[in-house]
Amino acid sequence: MSTPYRRSSPGRAGSFSVNREALSQGIGWLVPALTTLTFLVFSALPWGLIGLPRTAPALGLMAVYIWAVRRPSSMPLGLAFGLGLVQDLLWGEPLGLWGAGFVAGTMAARAVHTPFHVDSLTVHWLGFLYVLGVTSVLVWLLACLYYGQFLSFGPLLGQGLLTAAFYPVGAFLLRSVR
C-alpha cells in the first residue's frame, strides 16, 4: 500500500502534504496493530464447539506475516513483540513465548519477502509455511526450556497445519484493509 504523497509546493498545501506523510508514517503501525489484535481475539474464541480442533489457528502470526510482507515498515519488531505478548496473555501461555515467536516470524517474513517479491498468493502461502516452521520450532524450544521437559510437537504441528489452511481467508481479509 503506497502512501499518497503530493509533491511539496510553497504555501499551505505543501505543508499539508508533508504533515500527511508524517502522520501516515507515525500511525502507519496502527491499522496493522488493530487488525492483528482483532485476529488475536478471534483466535481466542472456543472454535472447538463447532467441530474445529480445540487448538486454534495462530491467526495473530498470520496477520503479522501478512503485514510484514505487504508493508515491512508497518510491522516493526517491537510491535510484533508486543502483539506476541498479548497473545501469550490471551491464551494463558507462558509470557514471552509468542513474543519471541512473533519477532522471529517477522524477521523470517522479511527475509522471505526480499528475494521473492512476487505478488502471488501461492508464493506468499509458501513463504508463510516457512515462517510458520521457523516460529513453531522456536516456540517449541522455548516451551521445552520453560517446562523443563521434551514436549510433544504434535499440538504445535496440528496448529500449524490449521493455520496454513486458514491462510487464504486471512490474506483475503487483510488485503481488503486499506
Partner: protein
C-alpha cells in the same frame, strides 16, 4: 536486534516461571478486560453450535427416542433403589456420627474464551469473585471433572483443564480405593501416576476425585483407566473436554464445621462420638454430591446448556423426591446421558 528480544522473552519466561505477581496481575487484568468482549463475540459461535447440534439430532430423532425410552425404564428402577440406599446411608451416618463434608454450592458459568495455545489448556468463564468463586474451586461438566479455577477476577475466572501439563488432581480408583495423582500431559488423555508400587490397577476401573487437599470434593467422576504407559496409566476422561460450553464451578466450603450438639449423645462404636458433627434429621438425605469415603459415586447434576448467565444454586434437595438420579449402569454414574 533479535538477540535482545529473545533475551527479554527469556527474562519474562523466568519471571513467569517464578510466578511473579506483576505477570499474574497483567494476565488477570487482560482476562477481566477481554471477558465481556469475548462473551459477546462468542454469541455467534454458540449459535452455530446450536444449529449444528439441532441438525445432528434432527436426523437421529427416532433412534434417540428409542434409546431414551429404554434408558428411562432402566432409570426408574434404579431411582427407587437409589432413594432407599440414600435414606439408609443417611440413617447410618447419623447413627455413627459421621463427620460430613462441608456444604457444596455450584455456580454455573459460560465458557467465553478457549485458549487455542498448543502448550496450555485453559479457558475463561464469565463468573468470578462476584459469584463467590476462588482459586482451587473444581469445574465439572455434565459428565465429570473438567479442571479447576486457577485465577479469579470480579466477573471472570480462568479454568486449568485436567489435561494441562501443570494440572495435578488427587484421585482414587474404584472399587479398589487406591489413590494416585491425575497428571496432565497436554494430550486429551491425562495419566494416572504416583501410585503405590504394589497397587493393583485394572484397566476399565473408574477414577473419581479423592478429596485430598480439600479443594475438590471427593467422589467427582473423572474417567476410566486405560492402557499402561511409561509413567502410569492413561485415563479416558468422562468430561467432553473439547466441547465444553457451560461448566459448573464447585464452591467447596472448606471452613471448619462448627460444633453442633446432636439430638442425643449418640456414641459410635469407633469412639468418634466426641467429634463435632453437623446436626442432621434422620429422615433428611445428606447433601447431594457429598460422599463418604468408599461410598456411592458423587451425584453430579447435568449442567443446563441453556443457562447463559451464572446461576448460584444450592444443591441440597428439599426432600428425597428431588434427589438426582443415580445410574450405576452409566459409565460415570450419572443418570441421563446427553
Amino acid at each position: 536486534m533479535f538477540a535482545s528480544f529473545l533475551a527479554f522473552s527469556m527474562a519474562l519466561l523466568i519471571l513467569d516461571r517464578a510466578e511473579a505477581s506483576v505477570i499474574d496481575k497483567a494476565r488477570s487484568a487482560l482476562d477481566e478486560m477481554t471477558a465481556p468482549l469475548l462473551g459477546w463475540l462468542n454469541g455467534p459461535v454458540t449459535a452455530v453450535q446450536g444449529w449444528t447440534d439441532r441438525a445432528q439430532h434432527y436426523f437421529s430423532l427416532y433412534e434417540e427416542n428409542q434409546r431414551l425410552r429404554a434408558e428411562l425404564e432402566d432409570l426408574r428402577e434404579w431411582r427407587d433403589v437409589a432413594l432407599k440406599l440414600e435414606r439408609k446411608t443417611a440413617r447410618y451416618e447419623a447413627l455413627l456420627n459421621v463427620k460430613l463434608e462441608p456444604g457444596i454450592r455450584y455456580v454455573t458459568a459460560r465458557v467465553t474464551n478457549d485458549t487455542g495455545g498448543p502448550f496450555v489448556k485453559t479457558f475463561l468463564t464469565n463468573s468470578g469473585t462476584n459469584d463467590g468463586l476462588r482459586p482451587g474451586n473444581g469445574a465439572i461438566d455434565s459428565r465429570g471433572l473438567v479442571g479447576r479455577v486457577v485465577s479469579v477476577q470480579d466477573a471472570a475466572s480462568r479454568i486449568l483443564l485436567v489435561t494441562d501439563l501443570n494440572s495435578r488432581v488427587p484421585v482414587r480408583m474404584e472399587p479398589s480405593g487406591e489413590r494416585g495423582l491425575l497428571v496432565g500431559t497436554n494430550l486429551d488423555e491425562p495419566v494416572l501416576s504416583f501410585l503405590r508400587p504394589d497397587a493393583v490397577v485394572t484397566v476399565g476401573d473408574r477414577i473419581v476425585t479423592s478429596g485430598d487437599g480439600g479443594q475438590i470434593p471427593a467422589g467427582i467422576p473423572v474417567g476410566l483407566i486405560g492402557e499402561e504407559v511409561r509413567n502410569g496409566y492413561r485415563v479416558s476422561l468422562f468430561a467432553d473436554i473439547n466441547n465444553v460450553s457451560v461448566v459448573r464451578l464447585i464452591d467447596f466450603d472448606r471452613r471448619p464445621i462448627a460444633p453442633v450438639v446432636a439430638d442425643g449423645p449418640a456414641t459410635g462404636p469407633q469412639g468418634i462420638a466426641d467429634q463435632p458433627v453437623r446436626g442432621q434429621n434422620l429422615d433428611t438425605p445428606p447433601a447431594a454430591g457429598v460422599q463418604p469415603e468408599g461410598g456411592q459415586p458423587a451425584r453430579v447434576q447435568p449442567a443446563s446448556g441453556s443457562e447463559a448467565e451464572s446461576v448460584e444454586e444450592d444443591d441440597r434437595p428439599a426432600d428425597a423426591s428431588e434427589a438426582p438420579i443415580i445410574d450405576p449402569a452409566a459409565p460415570n454414574g450419572v443418570g441421563g446421558a446427553e
